[in-house]
Amino acid sequence: MKYILMMTGTKADFDAYAKWSKEDLQRNVAFMRAFSKELKDSGVYVATEGLAWPHEAKIVRAGKDGEPITDGVFPESKEFLAGYWIIDVESPEEAYKIAARASAAPGSGGKPGSMPIEVRQVLSSHADLGL
């Protein structure tokens, strides 16, 4: 079963991250690299992407003529996707365990963090209702 692990944060979280010390940043980047490698080595890795920061994020809606109307005003509390991993595991518990590892990535001062990671199952094309 495939799961997506989504790391999210408000604009304030992104701003705080931007102020980390060089050492904190290096530690965090090293952790993220090792984490991705670990997923690959253990045979559960499907995909991962990081997203550009939300400051230039736009909401697009179709206007009357189908032309895009863009808007960049978001409430302060909005959670933005920072990046995700997709993994293929045998149980939800295994996905939660891996998500907890990502959540504990070293934060400011090198202490393990507890970032929220949203875990959702990815829909498959398998169908068997037994009907």
């Binding site: 559960v44 499907v46 995909a47 293929d88 398998h126 169908a127 068997d128 209702l129 037994g130």
Partner: protein, 433 residues
């Protein structure tokens, strides 16, 4: 070729056949894979290096044979090339170790005798299956290893079938080989006492491979249905080496009788069609006949197991000309036997459906209620879907709509969700809710 005589599906089917077609050399190579691998492991004892060497030999054959023609003895050719590759590996490993610590190699691996042909052993394929489906492996690892080592599929093909990157599948296979190496499982048949249990693990892995292909409704473009055919092919191999095991025959019959309905169970767009609504003209009569014959032969022998019972249930469905002709009391009796044999809540759920078909929906709903408290099923969308179906049968449309929607919210499958939402929408339009 069975006659389906149905326009849209016919084109889908002929396209599938085309995509599936392998050259005779490819077919031969896949047939020889487990035999050659068996000989190499028997000789060199190291599963991982043997597997690598055989893959290289297969690759060499795939390049050379179409150009130069088949060798006189293709199996011996492959074995020889694999022996040579593994010998080269050992030589360089030996040189490296000597440089490092002057360690002597296992004297059993003397290089001079590698030209000697190992006679083919019938057991080899079976031993290989026992290794690949070892209970020490996770099912994902066992599946990948079986498809590669016994099925002769490439890592890229297996990765494509499971929709993961090739590197991930390669890693899974190499970890599986590593755990076989670490566990020191010898290349020999399990003891008589263990054998039945170990054969059950093999059959379970084959069943999982079949289901992975069969339950996929992704449409022909993803070719996942190849997995069902691969599982059938592998089960035929097991049957050849274990001709007297009734459950092996039962599993093969179950696969044939289930797979016979494959074209009818989804629309060409991949939408789900429940059994009662399937176009039975699309069922593969030839495959049904083979499954029924196989099953009748083993059932006559006596020792009935769960795969045979499931095959018997599939056969009752397959033999009904129309959905309303289905002999549900026979299916109910078979589920009752099956329930006594295995404590599986999915079996109990299917039993409830059969009871509803025989004694009416309220009997089925009453049996489902007992399953609500089963923690193994708690919150499982199939339970909600079946309840919705039985409520609809009972005329409680509002209850059915609610349960179809609950099931839709719980499933992790796109075609199931589409199907369940459509059922709820259809009922809600007719009741105006």
């Amino acid at each position: 070729m069975p006659i389906w005589g149905y326009r849209t599906h016919e084109t889908v089917e002929s396209k599938r056949m085309e995509e599936r077609s392998e050259t005779p050399i490819e077919v031969l190579l896949r047939e020889l894979t487990p035999q050659v691998l068996g000989s190499v492991i028997r000789r060199f004892r190291d599963f991982a290096s043997a597997e690598d060497a055989v893959q290289e030999a297969l690759l060499a054959a795939a390049m050379q044979w179409p150009r130069d023609g088949l060798p006189d003895n293709p199996r011996a050719w492959l074995t020889r090339v694999a022996f040579r590759r593994i010998t080269d590996q050992i030589r360089s490993e030996w040189a490296r170790r000597r440089r490092e610590s002057e360690l002597a190699l296992d004297p059993a691996l003397t290089l001079e005798s590698t030209g000697i042909e190992t006679p083919p052993r019938e057991d080899d394929t079976l031993i290989l299956l026992f290794m690949c489906c070892h209970p020490a492996l996770t099912s994902a690892s066992a599946i990948a290893l079986t498809l590669r080592a016994v099925g002769g599929l490439t890592t890229a093909e297996i990765a494509r079938a499971f929709l993961v990157p090739e590197a991930t599948m390669a890693q899974r296979i190499s970890r599986a080989k590593q755990s076989i190496r670490d566990s020191g499982i010898p290349f020999q048949l399990p003891t008589a006492g263990e054998r039945a249990q170990r054969l059950r693990s093999v059959l379970h892995v084959l069943y999982l491979i079949f289901n992975e292909g069969y339950t996929s409704s992704a449409g022909p473009r993803l070719r996942r249905d190849d997995l069902s055919h691969e599982a059938i092919r592998l089960t035929r191999i097991v049957r050849k080496v274990q001709p007297n095991d009734a459950e092996v025959a039962g599993l093969l019959a179950l696969m044939l009788l289930t797979d016979a309905r494959r074209l009818a169970r989804t629309t060409p767009e991949g939408e789900l069609v429940p059994l009662a609504k399937q176009d039975r003209a699309l069922w593969d009569r030839e495959q049904i006949a083979e499954g029924v014959a196989l099953l009748s032969a083993v059932l006559a022998k006596g020792s009935v197991g769960p795969y045979q019972l499931q095959a018997a249930i599939a056969a009752v469905h397959d033999e009904a000309g129309r959905s309303e002709d289905t002999d549900w009391s026979q299916i109910l009796a078979l589920y009752e036997l099956l329930r006594r044999m295995s404590d599986n809540p999915m079996v109990s759920m299917n039993h409830a459906i059969a009871a509803a078909m025989v004694h009416g929906p309220s009997k089925g709903l009453e049996l489902l209620e007992a399953l609500d408290s089963d923690p193994r099923l708690g919150g499982h969308h199939r339970l909600d879907a079946v309840r919705a179906h039985l409520l609809e049968m009972a005329g409680d449309h509002n209850g059915a709509i609610t349960n179809y929607r609950i099931a839709a919210g719980r499933t992790a499958s796109i075609p199931e969700r589409n199907y369940l939402m459509t059922q709820a929408a259809r009922l809600s339009e007719s009741t105006g809710r």
